[in-house]
Each structure stands twice: as structure tokens, then as C-alpha cells.
């Protein structure tokens, strides 16, 4: 096997996707997808292990040597992100069985799982590849399948929000394509390593600077950085629950990874720091944290509330990138991991509520915390982690973020991070108040605890929030190595 693992990580879901699409109705499509996701998670784990032990893995597709052929190049950074994506997929699929059977019409279920696997292929492909154009192809594979997945939501707004996402996502991807074209015209290569070697000689050219800007804007759209986040709340609110869980925990994370690669691996850091890119990230990040958190407080729909909170959390990651120091990048990577855990847990728990009462309006869930104690427990843990209470994973990422800010004596970002946490207390508080302290709305329905198939993955992620809040060896250790690879020269 050896190096083939890095390739099979992408190929296994790719082959499974068309097969699942032609499987008969019933539970077979789900079972196949579940097995595939487990296989991917195992492969991703093995890959991270071998990268941590033996250094960079390079895989030449078709046996063509880079820079001519496409190369998969895996170091600690992408092995880490690939593991996040694969593990979240493996936890989402057992959860999917019941939730999908309730929300998706039966004849569409095989297609649903096929699209989910294609989305997984795209996301894993982005993390594996070392070719800048290949990133575009995988980006579009994952985006197109996620547009289709979002449009399967039950309300009619699912169509309009999917359309809105499609327009903005395609503009973002096309901007990225323009940028890649401009860079290719000056460097004559598409391989990331090769481009990184050639770029320092052509950095003064306007073409390169324009290309850099186009790529920045394109990826910022994909990762829903604050002023470009408009597609995200609608898409997350109206998508089927499983899709929301999966996309919230993975899609934006992968875009953050692409951003890190462009800023710190492909372009020399002296260039990145000399451009206003890092300052822009800090400003956009701060604005995102404050404004999106305030928006979250005023939402009446729980999924929408958490979606705005996601925009705010992306703001924290943007802050980490903007600091451009080793600690800042570590903070961004740790938060990438931890946010996947907390939002995964929260959206899954909310999904369990939707499964029982078929609504996600804040005024419909009064008092449900007492009827569904286990679901409520998971929401409390996820919420505390979102706020950043010590002992949860969220605290670790905020701790490193504040450390990075203090290193540069950046007092305003420190204040913003603290205010953001206070705002998170407010919106998480609103959720918990409605679930536990408001009197039960009496509409004759008896609500019972969610089925075990939904609770086990939810609690898996909730406990992971606690575990990674106490034992930081894996997250901090890997993030340290990854940040060292990316560099982060700014003191």
C-alpha cells in the first residue's frame, strides 16, 4: 500500500459515488457510503501518522514526474485537514440514516448519498493535491455537489438559497481560475512547489499581484469571510440537516486550508506580509466576529443562529491567518479542528430536535431540554465550547489566538475576541433558555428523547469537545508542526 493511501483517499469515494447512484432503494446506498467514509477516515489517520513519522509524501499521478504531471503532496498541514474532513464524514454518515429517511423523498436517497460522496471526494481532493489547477477542479466537484445537496432541503427557500450559493460560489471559483491563469502566464507551471520556487523572481510584475488578488477574493468568497458571507446563512438554514452538519464542519475549513497554502506556501511570506492581505484579514476577521455574533443573537431560527455563529468563527480563523505568526497560524489550525467538533456537535443536536418536532424555530422548542435530556446535554457542551469555557476545545483555540495577538501587542483584536466570546454567551444562552427555562408549549404532542442512532454520533463529537479541551497533544502537536511548515515569519 504505502504511498497509495494518499491517492485511495480520493479515489475510493470517487468510485463509490457512481456505484451508490445506481444501487436499489433501501438502506444499501447508506451502508455503502458508511463503509466508504470509515475507510477514508482510517486512510486519513494512517496518512497523518506516516507524515508525522516520515515527512512529506509525494505521489505522482500516472507516473509523470512533477512539475509536468499532477502531484499529490502531503505534509502535516493537509494531512491534518484531510483527517478532519474524513472523520467528520465518518461521524455524519451513521447520523444520516434516520435523518435522511425522514427529510429526503425515498426515490432520491441513492442520489443523495452519491452527491454526498462526490462532495467528500472534492473536499478530500483539495486537501491532497499539490497542483493549483487541480484545486479548482476539486473545488468545483465539491461545490456543485453541495449546491445539489442544499437544494434537496424541504422548504422552497432551499431552491433559492442553493441558487444564490451557486451564483456566488461560481463567481468565487471563476475569480480563482482567473488568478491561476495569470500566475501560470508568468511562471509557466501549475505545481505548487515549482510555482513557489519560480514566483520570487517575478513578484514585482503587476500580473502576479493581480493574480494574487483574484485568488484571495475568490477563496474569501468560498470560505465566507465576513463581507462575502451572504450565501452562508441561507444555505445552512434551508439545507437538509445532514448536509448542514457536513458542510458546516468541513467545507469552509477546506477553503481556509487553500487560503493558507496560497498565502504561505506558494507566495513567499515576505510578499504576503508586504501586501495589505494580512491587515485585511485582521479587519475582516474582527468585523465578522462582532457583526455576525450580533446578527446571531437576533435570529429566530436555530439553524440560522448557528450559521451566523459560523461566520463569526471564520472571523477568528481569519484573525489567526492575519497575525501571520507561527502562533497565529497554530491558532487558526487548532480552531479549524475545534470548530468542526463544536459546530458538528451543535448542528447534530439541533438535527435531533428537528427529527422529533419537525421545526427549528426558537419559539417551538420551549422546554424541550427536559424532554430530551441527552440532546440537551450535547447542546450545552457544544455551546460552552463555542463560548470558550476552560475545559472545552473552544478554550484552547481562543487561548492560542489571544496569545498570538498579545505577542504582537495587538490590543484591539484581543478586545474583539473577548467581546465575541461574550456575544457567544448571549446567543448560546438564548438557545439554552428556550430549551430549558421556558415553559413547555402545550400542543398535545409528547416529545421523547432522540433515537440512539442520532445520539451516539452527537455525543461522540460532544465528548471530543471535552477530550480535546483537556488533552491537547494531538491538536496542538500537529498544529505546531503544520504551522512550522507554513512558516509564519512575522514576529
Amino acid at each position: 500500500m504505502g504511498n497509495h493511501i494518499s491517492l485511495l483517499l480520493v479515489i475510493v469515494p470517487l468510485i463509490a459515488a457512481p456505484l451508490v447512484a445506481v444501487l436499489p432503494r433501501g438502506r444499501l446506498p447508506w451502508a455503502t457510503s458508511f463503509v466508504v467514509s470509515i475507510v477514508c477516515a482510517v486512510f486519513a489517520g494512517m496518512q497523518l501518522w506516516s507524515v508525522l513519522q516520515g515527512g512529506v509524501i509525494s505521489y505522482e499521478l500516472g507516473g509523470w514526474a512533477p512539475p509536468w504531471g499532477i502531484e499529490y503532496r502531503i505534509d502535516a498541514v493537509n494531512a491534518f485537514v484531510a483527517l478532519i474532513v474524513a472523520v467528520i464524514a465518518a461521524l455524519t454518515l451513521p447520523y444520516a440514516l434516520l435523518s435522511v429517511e425522514q427529510e429526503i423523498p425515498e426515490e432520491k436517497i441513492p442520489t443523495f448519498y452519491s452527491a454526498l460522496l462526490l462532495c467528500l471526494t472534492g473536499l478530500l481532493g483539495i486537501t491532497q493535491t499539490g497542483d493549483i489547477f487541480n484545486v479548482f477542479v476539486f473545488l468545483e466537484i465539491s461545490s456543485l455537489s453541495s449546491y445539489a445537496l442544499i437544494s434537496l432541503g424541504r422548504s422552497r427557500q432551499a431552491f433559492t438559497s442553493s441558487y444564490q450559493y451557486l451564483i456566488m460560489g461560481t463567481i468565487g471559483a471563476t475569480f480563482y481560475l482567473i488568478g491561476v491563469g495569470l500566475l501560470y502566464s508568468q511562471t509557466g507551471t501549475l505545481n505548487m512547489q515549482d510555482m513557489a520556487n519560480i514566483l520570487p523572481t517575478v513578484l514585482h510584475l503587476n500580473t502576479v499581484i493581480t493574480g494574487f488578488t483574484f485568488i484571495m477574493v475568490g477563496i474569501a468568497l468560498k470560505l465566507a469571510l465576513f463581507p462575502l458571507h451572504l450565501w452562508l446563512p441561507n444555505a445552512y438554514t434551508y439545507a437538509p440537516t445532514v448536509v448542514t452538519v457536513f458542510l458546516a464542519a468541513t467545507a469552509t475549513k477546506v477553503a481556509v486550508y487553500v487560503m493558507l497554502r496560497i498565502l504561505f506556501t506558494i507566495f513567499p511570506q515576505t510578499f504576503t506580509i508586504a501586501t495589505p492581505a494580512d491587515e485585511l484579514f485582521i479587519v475582516a476577521g474582527m468585523a465578522g466576529v462582532i457583526i455576525a455574533s450580533v446578527y446571531a443573537i437576533y435570529q429566530k431560527n436555530i439553524k440560522r443562529l448557528l450559521a451566523y455563529s459560523s461566520v463569526a468563527q471564520i472571523g477568528y480563523m481569519a484573525l489567526g491567518i492575519g497575525f501571520a505568526s507561527t502562533t497565529g497560524l497554530m491558532a487558526a489550525l487548532i480552531h479549524l479542528f475545534n470548530h468542526a467538533l463544536m459546530k458538528g456537535a451543535l448542528f447534530m443536536a439541533i438535527g435531533a430536535i428537528i427529527y422529533r418536532i419537525d421545526s427549528c424555530r426558537l419559539d417551538q422548542i420551549h422546554g424541550l431540554g427536559r424532554a430530551m435530556p441527552w440532546t440537551f446535554g450535547a447542546i450545552i457542551i457544544g455551546g460552552l465550547s463555542l463560548v470558550g469555557v476552560p475545559g472545552t476545545a473552544g478554550f484552547i483555540s481562543k487561548w492560542y489566538l489571544v496569545t498570538a495577538a498579545l505577542e504582537q501587542s495587538a490590543w484591539i483584536p484581543v478586545a474583539v475576541i473577548l467581546i465575541g466570546s461574550l456575544l457567544a454567551v448571549v446567543y448560546v444562552g438564548k438557545l439554552i433558555e428556550a430549551l430549558y427555562f421556558k415553559p413547555v408549549t402545550d400542543n398535545g404532542k409528547v416529545v421523547t428523547e432522540a433515537p440512539l442512532m442520532l445520539l451516539v454520533p452527537t455525543w461522540g463529537l460532544a465528548l471530543a469537545n471535552l477530550y480535546f479541551g483537556l488533552d491537547t497533544d494531538l491538536t496542538v502537536g500537529v498544529a505546531e508542526q503544520a504551522a512550522a511548515i507554513l512558516g509564519g515569519m512575522k514576529p
Binding site: L144, S151, F159, T160, L166, T174, G181, L190
Partner: protein, 118 residues
């Protein structure tokens, strides 16, 4: 003058790009938005393909007596991008069909009113 004539392909690309992007942003009709998006994407295809041209170069197939070949790589890249574009357009049109069926209109402002008058 040399700057304008010598880079005419880029001027075409920039013109198309702006027309496309403007259409996407300014039109409220969902189908017109897709048309704009298509023009925008096609301008990028032109950018790549005109970039790959080598003056006096032949098609990149080895033949006797030909010394200079055009760069085939941008063509291959754009073949992929065209396929992506077709898939995007098909998906977008499919969504518009469903929107028309559920809302009865494809004007953005009317859809907005329908959603908020509930």
C-alpha cells in the same frame, strides 16, 4: 497605441468579463443572471486560450517540418473548465425550473416578496 492594439485579446477578455459580471449583479431575472455568469466564464476561457497561443505556432501535434507549436496545456485546462461550466449551467437551470414551479416566478424581487409576506 501599441499598448491597445498589441493586447487586443486582453481588451476583449476584460470587456466580456465586465459585461458578464455586471449582468450577474444588476439583473433580477434568474435566467439572465445565468447568462451573465456564462459570459463571465467564457471570458476566462478566452484569457487562457489566447495566453497559450505562440505566434506562428501550429497545433501541438508532432508533424514534419513544423518547429513551433502552440502551448496545449491551457487548452486542456479550459476543456476541464468548460465541462465544469456546462455542469454549473445545467444545475443552475434545473434550480430555476424548480423555483418557477414552486414560486411561479423567476424575478428575484417577486420571490423575495413571496418569502417575506408569509
Amino acid at each position: 497605441m501599441e499598448f491597445i492594439i498589441g493586447h487586443y485579446n486582453y481588451w476583449v477578455v476584460i470587456f466580456l468579463m465586465m459585461v458578464g459580471l455586471y449582468t450577474v449583479i444588476s439583473r433580477g431575472n434568474l435566467v439572465k443572471k445565468i447568462i451573465g455568469l456564462n459570459i463571465f466564464q467564457v471570458s476566462v476561457f478566452f484569457l487562457y486560450i489566447s495566453m497559450g497561443t505562440v505566434e506562428g505556432g501550429a497545433a501541438p501535434i508532432i508533424a514534419e517540418g513544423v518547429k513551433v507549436y502552440s502551448n496545449p496545456l491551457p487548452h486542456v485546462l479550459i476543456l476541464t473548465a468548460i465541462v465544469v461550466g456546462v455542469a454549473t449551467t445545467a444545475l443552475a437551470l434545473a434550480l430555476v425550473v424548480r423555483i418557477k414551479e414552486t414560486y411561479g416566478t423567476i424575478e428575484e424581487d417577486e420571490i423575495h416578496n413571496l418569502d417575506h409576506s408569509l
